[in-house]
């Protein structure tokens, strides 16, 4: 790829960096306990929690760093952090 003049670059290439490899714990989402409030999606520092067509919230595990904020803040305790099986 040719070097861009002036240290400039087009948007969005950060997705090349799969930060999911960082985590030790991963969030497990219980869609039955979920009240669909959307809080997890709002407060994830990665912005990696998406809402599926079935209106379920799922993290993109390619990028989830396992910080546990979603589990901590979920008002229905529908998210639990579990040690990831590698």
């Amino acid at each position: 790829m040719a070097l861009n003049v002036g240290c400039a670059a087009p948007p969005g290439r950060s997705t090349d960096n799969k930060t999911g490899s960082w985590r030790v714990f991963m969030p497990r989402f219980d869609s039955e306990a979920c009240s669909k409030c959307g809080m997890c999606q709002l407060i994830c520092p990665e912005g990696c929690i998406r809402q599926t067509d079935a209106k379920e919230f799922v993290p993109d595990y390619d990028y989830c760093k396992g910080c546990g904020l979603c589990a901590e803040e979920c008002p229905k305790a529908a998210i639990t952090m579990v040690q990831e099986e590698k």
């Binding site: 861009n4 002036g6 400039a8 670059a9 087009p10």
Partner: protein
């Protein structure tokens, strides 16, 4: 093509007006003040459709220009000495980001000790930063180099910020006859700025990202290559200026009475006007002396200089700056260092004269004395050091 008699600063302001910058951001500093004041009046009278930002320091002046150019507007600033030193960080930043601008430098000595008078230390001290640097001999050149400066800087083969240097007080505050282009002539020569990238929600880019060791060298290479490409772009644009307006700027160095010169003087800026007069007098006395004037210091025109000095038996470099601590046990200026580099491998003696620092006047007789010293092999020294006050 009428000539008008104008103060150098006012002439520069009028040239800048014809370049149609959309943003003017400048902080006043002696001896550039008349430029920014004249531009403020021009804007206040609706003679230039620009936004004039009265910034709170030179650091902010150039930073605001970074933003304005990144957003796609042609911008302008002017400074000197302490103000340019305060912009040091932004100068490197702007060149690395490849944002073009023309900035006038009314050359002035750097403190300490504080001095408001002329030498070329300020712009020379930034020779590493990646800016193009032009040095004007007189106010006509100072004026013309602004149009040429924008054309070269904004060329997509170059995209580098550019300093147009003219000696503070000596040129900025001197009335000389100048020919001003009409607005139509300027517009025909200098079309609107077309940036390579700009900050635009319709087409987002991230500008000014940081570079890890894997990329940094390559960015520096690219910027240096832009300097190299500028040599030809300056020749091309300078030739076009000559074809349109009758004053040719295609030569990066100017040879004056060099045809059979034994002693060649190398210098930049207004000192060259005095030197030419001195040469005429010395020639009348039978001395074979000439001048090779550097109009362009960055990029340094090594090949042109070498060719111009080919026939000389000795070279006297007039340095209106000093690279403190360089030269071993003798004083050294930056121009001599680069002249010697250009002549590497040649046996022609190059003798350095640190002269005119802090506004000390250089007269015709001083040039003659320098030539005599050079002929006697007495160089790499200060000229006119007042040992009685030491």
């Amino acid at each position: 093509m009428a000539l008008e008699i104008m103060e150098g600063s006012i002439a520069v302001a009028q040239a800048v007006r014809r370049c149609r910058p959309q943003v003017v951001s400048a902080y006043p500093i002696t001896p550039q003040t008349h430029i920014v004041e004249a531009l403020a009046e021009i804007v206040a009278n609706g003679e230039l459709a620009a936004d004039y930002i009265t910034v709170e320091s030179e650091f902010s002046a150039l930073s605001a220009c970074v933003g304005a150019v990144a957003a796609g507007s042609r911008a302008y600033s002017a400074t000197t000495s302490q103000g340019l030193a305060l912009m040091f960080e932004v100068c490197f930043n702007m060149a690395g980001m490849r944002l073009p601008i023309v900035m006038t430098i009314a050359n002035r000595a750097l403190g300490a000790p504080l001095s408001i008078w002329n030498d070329q230390q300020d712009s020379i001290s930034l020779r590493d930063a990646g800016w193009l640097q032009f040095y004007a001999e007189d106010n006509q050149e100072a004026v013309d180099l602004h149009y040429i400066g924008y054309r070269v800087a904004e060329d997509h083969r170059v995209l580098l910020p550019t300093m147009v240097c003219f000696d503070g007080f000596i040129l900025s505050h001197t009335y000389e006859p100048v020919n001003m282009l009409t607005q139509e002539e300027a517009d025909a020569f200098l079309p609107p700025f077309v940036p390579k990238y700009r900050l635009d929600a319709a087409s987002p880019v991230s500008m000014g990202m940081y570079a890890t060791p894997e990329y940094y060298l390559e960015f520096r290479y690219e910027t240096d290559q832009a300097q190299k490409r500028a040599l030809d772009v300056i020749r091309e644009v300078g030739r076009e200026f000559g074809e349109r307006f009758g004053r040719d700027y295609s030569a990066l160095v100017e040879s004056y009475r060099m045809e059979d010169a034994e002693t060649a003087i190398v210098a930049m800026g207004s000192i060259c006007g005095t030197t030419k007069d001195a040469i005429d007098e010395m020639r009348a006395e039978g001395k074979r002396v000439g001048l090779v004037r550097l109009r362009c210091f960055r990029p340094f025109p090594s090949e042109d200089l070498k060719a111009a000095l080919a026939g000389a038996s000795r070279v006297a470099v007039l340095d209106k700056n000093i690279v403190l601590g360089a030269g071993g046990s003798t004083p050294r200026g930056a121009v001599a260092l680069e002249v010697r580099d250009a002549l590497y491998g040649s046996t022609t003696p190059v003798l350095d004269y640190v002269i005119g620092l802090g506004g000390r006047d250089v007269r015709i007789e001083d040039i003659k004395k320098v030539v005599a010293l050079c002929e006697a092999g007495d160089g790499d020294r200060f000229y006119g050091l007042r040992t009685e006050v030491l």
